[in-house]
Symmetry: C2
Subunit: 146 residues, 2 copies
């Protein structure tokens, strides 16, 4: 008999709350770090997806990459395009589809963003050892299934 047996959801829900809170905190710290580049973490993740793909990506794919709905990516793309770090190009294979392509400026901003997050990342993990990080990754991995 222990805390979890007595009150299984209470402790687990508290943990979930801590997880959500910590995630939000981490994101806001990264947002702060990226503000100097006029980026947010979501914007940066979009650029990261394009860099990793190493070729233009359609909006639907991008939505999957950054875990959000398509309408969100449309707005995101509007902004990134207005800032000149991304541009829309036609998809030669499907006229419904629109591909997003990183501009040269986009590549530079992506790199600068990565650099800007370094200090914050180190600071956030300053009380954690490497085994801690490995364990955390493992434990988080057990949570994301439907």
């Amino acid at each position: 008999m222990n805390e979890f047996d007595e009150c299984p959801t209470e402790g687990a829900l508290g943990l979930l709350t801590l997880l959500i809170k910590t995630g939000r905190l981490a994101e806001s710290r990264l947002d702060e770090a990226l503000a100097s580049e006029n980026l947010t973490f979501v914007k940066w993740r979009t650029l990261e997806a394009l860099v990793k793909a190493n070729s233009p990506v359609c909006l639907g794919e991008l939505a999957k990459s950054i875990n959000c709905v398509k309408s969100n990516v449309t707005q995101l793309a509007d902004k990134l395009q207005a800032e000149g770090i991304v541009k829309r190009v036609a998809d030669p294979n499907d006229r419904r589809s629109i591909l997003i392509e990183l501009t040269g400026q986009g590549s530079r901003v992506h790199q600068a963003g990565l650099k800007a997050m370094e200090t914050t990342t180190r600071k956030l993990f300053s009380s954690s050892t490497e085994p801690d990080r490995i364990a955390l990754r493992d434990l988080l991995g057990k949570l994301d299934g439907r």
Copy 2:
């Protein structure tokens, strides 16, 4: 020499990304579970703060409890009040302050919300053992300092 030594920010940033992603996932699952009660996780946490305090709480305190700015709580309180699950009462000790009080309906909704989240919570942790949850709580606790 290992992955983290070679590329300290890369692995750590990936972990941070996983953390943020998992936190968002958890919140959206809880939101889904609470939708039947016309609640969201943020709304529920507000009710939870009131229940725990066991007495009316001013808006500023509430903002601290749920980690957001005051203006957000104002809007939140407007909605909760319109739904009849909280009400604003004057603070006898400070005429600037406005206290938020849970209604009887509010207590019922809070309870129903807790119940609604049980299944989701169990499902999210279905691949985790109790030691896993304890370890996770510990590891997350190492991250939230400024």
